[in-house]
């Protein structure tokens, strides 16, 4: 599974090239990272906590459930958090000037599919 995850990250790096600032893949159960690119060890666990908090908040508000995508507009960057059930999470830290719509419509769905495949094969 780790090899597949690394392969998926390598393809994303090829697609996004300079627009990809950092990337990380972690386990939603433990928060430990499987693969990363130019990211801090604290990034994966912290974002996993963010996702868990959002799930709890949405459940309490009755607004629905979290599907698979969280987009965070940061200062100078954009973070796209993927939730790949059953147990993987990923983040792509992108440059601000990239076309986010195209990334969300093409690159992010492809990465989510590869991660699901990697989990299924494992």
């Amino acid at each position: 599974m780790i090899a597949a995850i690394e392969q998926a990250l390598a393809e994303v790096r090829e697609q996004l090239d300079q627009a990809l600032v950092a990337a990380d893949v972690w386990s939603t159960r433990t928060g430990l990272g499987y693969a990363s690119y130019e990211s801090s060890p604290a990034t994966g666990p912290m974002l996993n906590t963010v996702v868990q908090d959002l799930r709890e908040t949405l459940a309490a508000s009755g607004s629905g459930e979290l599907d698979d995508l969280v987009v965070l507009d940061l200062y100078g960057k954009t973070a796209v958090v993927l939730v790949c059930p059953p147990g993987l999470g990923a983040v792509l830290v992108l440059d601000k000037h990239i076309d986010l719509a195209s990334v969300l419509t093409t690159t992010v769905p492809e990465l989510a599919e590869r991660l699901r495949t990697a989990q299924a094969e494992a």
């Binding site: 990211s39 801090s40 604290a42 990034t43 912290m46 974002l47 906590t49 963010v50 908090d53 959002l54 908040t57 949405l58 309490a60 508000s61 009755g62 607004s63 629905g64 459930e65 979290l66 599907d67 698979d68 995508l69 969280v70 987009v71 965070l72 507009d73 940061l74 200062y75 100078g76 960057k77 973070a79 830290v93 986010l100 719509a101 195209s102 969300l104 419509t105």
Partner: protein, 527 residues
């Protein structure tokens, strides 16, 4: 109560509030009697003596002057006209040498010169070593005004008890008895020891018997003047003014008149060898009695006198350091401005005997600064981040909202997004309170506000930049929730249907327009 340092050296206790500046001594008119005004300075009681001696420099307040006049009039041994005239204390009338013989034989100290022996003859040379008040009386003669230091010494010598009481006590009890006893001893045993001579008169007692109280008072006051002033400065000058007296020998002057025992301090040098022990004995025995009667504390003038005497014994050339330095400069030339060759050789690293261990120098860091910076984020400067002084941020002004504009924002958003907008809520960013809503609820708004707060706090530890203008969450059912930070005090939460609107359209147009519209609702200083 505040302590001030007086002009004369003794502390002045002022019972004021500490704000009122006490009047200076020099600013006072001694003859001024300001009945109505309240003076702010109170001087010690012993300042009465100062006034009695030098009325021209009175430092008393009018109330003190009145008190002194009341106590000093009938109780003083001195003539009333001389002490208090019209309620104002005047200087002590000048005393001539004719008044002196009856004065102060009971408490003279051996430190004072003894001129009486010149009057009484060489038979009483031993007694002449004991002090008499002749010299003291001379010091207060009108021919030569007493310097300020003398007045100061008088004040220092007298204790805090009223001088009037001291004089009275000496006059009433001590002095007459001692005078009578001493007179009897003198007649019975003319070769008495110096100790006994301290307490008996040396001259005729007829005048003393006539006015014992007045004479004793004068002697006490004058004796203090002599004792505290010391024999070094005042005594010779005063004696020179009286041609008939035996000169007081001080310092080098003692060589000229060796037969005159001047002071006990000079006795080992000047006086004959046989008289020295007795003189010292007299001094030692007379000293405690003197202090018990009139001495209040050790006088500073005693030190000054001894210091002056020592300086007189020194060669002026030894004291003149400037002359010595000039001589040194003439002999050695100018100060050295450059090191000599010998000094350079001794200080250099090539010294044959001295070893110079090489300091341990680790050299430059093995890793280049760019690598260090990459590993540590900000490089070495990042370690000091926590110590950096935080800037004080001005508190933001309270939020002012244009509610009409806020309603227009809701309407405009509804029109622009159309059917894709499920709900829209504008809330206050600090508290999460709902300000305006289109289909939203208070509970949902509060929960989104809480989620935003948690997200912001979590991102601080995720090694990611701070949260920017918005964040969106894709929900089940084909919806998307967008939380917009439109203003530092305003936020908005939108729920959109992705079946009705494209995600790209939301990111490019909807979110920016909502941010601008909500921010425009804030007016005034909070904008």
């Amino acid at each position: 109560m505040k302590l001030f340092r007086g002009r004369l050296g003794f502390p002045r206790w002022s019972f004021t509030d500490g704000l009122t500046k006490p009047r200076r001594v020099a600013e006072r008119d001694p003859n001024e009697l300001d009945e109505g005004s309240e003076e702010t300075t109170q001087l010690p009681r012993f300042a009465l003596t100062h006034t009695a001696v030098r009325g021209a420099r009175s430092a008393l307040t009018p109330s003190d002057r009145r008190l002194a006049a009341e106590h000093g009039g009938p109780q003083r041994s001195l003539p009333e006209g001389s002490l208090a005239t019209g309620g104002i204390i005047q200087p002590v009338p000048s005393r001539t040498r004719a008044d002196a013989p009856a004065a102060g034989h009971q408490s003279g100290t051996a430190r004072t010169a003894a001129p009486a022996e010149a009057v009484q003859g060489p038979a009483q040379t031993e007694e002449a070593t004991t002090p008499t008040t002749d010299h003291a009386a001379v010091t207060s003669s009108p021919a030569e005004p007493v310097p300020d230091t003398e007045t100061t010494h008088v004040i220092e010598a007298v204790s805090d008890a009223e001088t009037t009481h001291i004089i009275e006590a000496v006059t009433d009890a001590d002095a007459p008895a001692q005078t009578a006893d001493a007179t009897d001893d003198d007649q019975a045993e003319p070769e008495a020891t110096a100790d006994s001579a301290l307490t008996r008169p040396e001259t005729g007692t007829s005048a003393e018997e006539d006015e014992p109280a007045e004479a004793q008072a004068r002697s006490t006051l004058a004796e203090q003047t002599t004792d505290e002033t010391g024999p070094t400065s005042q005594a010779p000058a005063a004696r020179k003014d009286e041609p008939g007296d035996a000169p007081v020998i001080l310092g080098r002057g003692a060589e000229d008149v060796p037969e005159a025992p001047a002071t006990v301090d000079d006795a080992p040098e000047d006086a004959p060898a046989g008289e020295a022990p007795e003189q010292s004995t007299a001094h030692q025995q007379a000293k405690p009695r003197t202090s018990s009667t009139t001495h209040a504390r050790p006088s500073k003038s005693r030190k000054r006198g001894s210091a002056t005497k020592h300086l007189e014994g020194l060669d002026p050339e030894q004291v003149n350091v400037i002359e010595q330095l000039r001589e040194w400069m003439e002999s050695h030339g100018d100060w050295p401005v450059a090191p000599t060759d010998e000094a350079v050789d001794l200080a250099s690293t090539s010294h044959p005997d001295r070893t110079y261990p090489q300091p341990e120098y680790g050299g430059l860091p093995k890793e280049p600064p760019a690598v260090v910076r990459a590993k540590n984020g900000r490089g070495f400067g990042g370690t000091l981040l926590n110590r950096r002084r935080r800037r004080k941020v001005k508190p933001r002004p309270p939020l002012e909202l244009d509610r009409q504009r806020l309603d227009e924002v809701l309407t405009e958003t509804r029109e622009s997004v159309g059917e894709a907008l499920i709900d829209l809520t504008v809330f206050e960013a600090r508290t999460g309170l709902l300000l305006a809503s289109d289909g939203g609820t208070v509970a949902t708004t509060a929960l989104w506000h809480r989620a935003s707060h948690d997200l912001t706090e979590t991102l601080r530890h995720a090694d990611l930049p701070r949260l920017g203008g918005y964040y969106l969450v894709r929900l089940t059912g084909g919806r998307i929730a967008v939380v917009v930070n439109a203003h530092p005090d305003l936020g908005a939460c939108l729920t959109l249907d992705l079946e009705q609107v494209q995600l790209g359209e939301v990111l490019k147009h909807t979110i920016p327009s909502v941010r601008r519209a909500v921010a425009s609702a804030a007016v005034g200083a909070s904008r």
